[in-house]
Amino acid sequence: MRFDGGEESRERGETAVYETLKKILVDTLKVEPEQITPEATKDDLDLDSLAFVELSMVLGKEHGLHISDDELFDMETVGDIVALMEERAGDRS
């Protein structure tokens, strides 16, 4: 089953952009996948300012999505970060 498909997962906020973020959190920052939900806060995931610098770098380099670490750090939850990523991806297209 793919998470970026059906209505149900979309309603839970688990879009393709969400999956992209989740993959970065897991692969680069080594967050446990089961910890990651749209509602999880940066404190829940133990993400510090350096982690947001890394996230910003991966988004820019591998996804062409240029969002500063300060902007990302201002977000509270995973869902907030996804919303910011979607907004910027929309601006770009």
Binding site: L29, K30, V31, E32, D46, L50, V53, E54, M57, K61
Partner: protein, 403 residues
């Protein structure tokens, strides 16, 4: 007796013999070299090293913890966890627990890798973690973060003597009553391209083709050291406290001598004056004299210069002929970890009454009048010395006595 009397109550090791004290001591006792051709060094002038085998940092530390640590800190953290494994950490007064770790260069693997990123991707490609991973002091800081120890926290650097210097400094902190417990040790993970190219260019490394026979301390045909990596951590406390707490004391550190050659950046003083002074200082600390020394774990790097100068000093200072060994024949030269790992081997030798062999010693250098163990020798040991000397002419000698 001047009164240095520090109990060793915990041991942790990560060496080319494997992860853990048991694996390292078994390899050393067996007297077989751990050297092998190293794929990281393909294309180098010298391609052999002594790596820690099967070190799975994600499995040992967790991927989240490991991803932010350079290899040198990973090795030290695993050794430290073993050293405190039997302790009731919740019962310790964290403010009175110190950490002193020796390393010659810190997280060089991270630094070299990130320099590659800089050249390939420019400055904005460089990881924000390069400094927290590379800075030499971070290893002591990470141990404090891991265990919550809030006392004096420092890293010392005396090149290949770093691990022994750290133990000496830790003993001084305990004797001065600045701490009640100190985690002391050494670490280096410098089997990296730039470091190894530098050692090779200096002419410090063995050029033998056969890894198994390359590290041969005190042998007439020695031609340089084999670089290794590793970490060793000891739990130290004042012997009086250990006795009052009825702790198991593995052995005691009863003397420490620290001197500088003030001679040359890499060559030892040919007359060994700094080594002689350090040895005398360690013996004076212990209230002991030359005939009291039963065993010496020599620096014994397998270079022409070190082994000649050190061997002559030992013969001159200790004419009663203690049984000498160099465990570097097995482990290679673990650099900043060597002094601490060899202190652990010396503690085990004293505790078990067993002098481990010097691997690959086929023919003793005829210029040396030494009794060197070539097989594991049962021997009652009341007092032993562990020698460590660093580039820069920094010397550290530890005197280790039976519990």
């Amino acid at each position: 007796m001047t009164g240095l009397d520090i109990a060793v109550t915990g041991l942790g090791l990560v060496t080319p013999g494997g992860v853990g004290v048991e694996a390292g001591w078994a390899a050393v006792r067996a007297g077989r070299s751990t050297a092998a051709h190293d794929p990281v060094l393909a294309g180098h002038e010298v391609t052999i090293s002594c790596r820690v085998p099967d070190f799975d940092a994600d499995a040992l530390l967790g991927a989240r913890r490991a991803v932010r640590l350079d290899r040198f800190t990973r090795l030290a953290l695993v050794a430290a966890r073993e050293a405190v494994a039997g302790e009731d950490l919740a019962g310790w007064d964290a403010a009175r627990v110190g950490v002193v770790i020796g390393t010659s260069a810190g997280g060089v693997e991270t630094f070299e890798r990130q320099h590659g990123v800089l050249l390939a991707d420019g400055p904005t490609g460089v990881s924000p973690l390069v400094l927290p991973m590379h800075l030499p002091n971070m290893v002591a800081g990470q141990l404090a973060i891991e265990f919550g120890f809030r006392g004096p926290n420092l890293v010392v650097s005396t090149a290949c003597a770093s691990g022994a210097t750290a133990i000496g400094v830790a003993c001084d902190l305990l004797a001065a009553r600045r701490c009640d417990v100190v985690l002391a040790g050494g670490v280096d993970a410098l089997l990296t391209p730039v470091t190894m190219a530098g050692f090779a260019r200096m002419g410090a490394l063995s050029r033998r083709d056969d890894p198994a026979t390359a590290s041969r301390p005190f042998d007439v045909d020695r031609d340089g050291f084999v670089a290794g990596e590793g970490a060793a951590v000891l739990v130290l406390r004042r012997a009086e406290d250990a006795r009052a707490d009825r702790r198991r004391v593995r052995a005691r550190v009863v003397g420490y001598g620290a001197t500088a050659d003030a001679h040359h950046i890499t060559n030892p003083d040919p007359e060994g004056r700094g080594v002689i002074a350090a040895t005398k200082a360690a013996l004076a600390d212990a209230g002991a004299s030359a005939p009291d020394v039963d065993h010496v774990n020599a620096h014994g790097t397998s270079t022409q210069l070190n082994d000649l100068v050190e061997g002559r000093v030992l013969a001159e200072l200790l004419p009663s002929g203690p049984l000498v060994t160099s465990t570097k024949g097995v482990t290679g030269h673990m650099l900043g970890a060597a002094g601490a790992a060899e202190a652990v081997f010396t503690v085990l030798a004293v505790e078990q009454g067993l002098v481990p062999p010097t691997a690959n010693l086929a023919t003793l250098d005829p210029r040396l009048d030494l009794d060197v163990a070539t097989s594991a020798v049962p021997r009652e040991i009341d007092l032993a010395l562990s020698n460590s000397f660093g580039f820069g002419g920094q010397n550290a000698v530890l005197a280790i006595a039976k519990a």
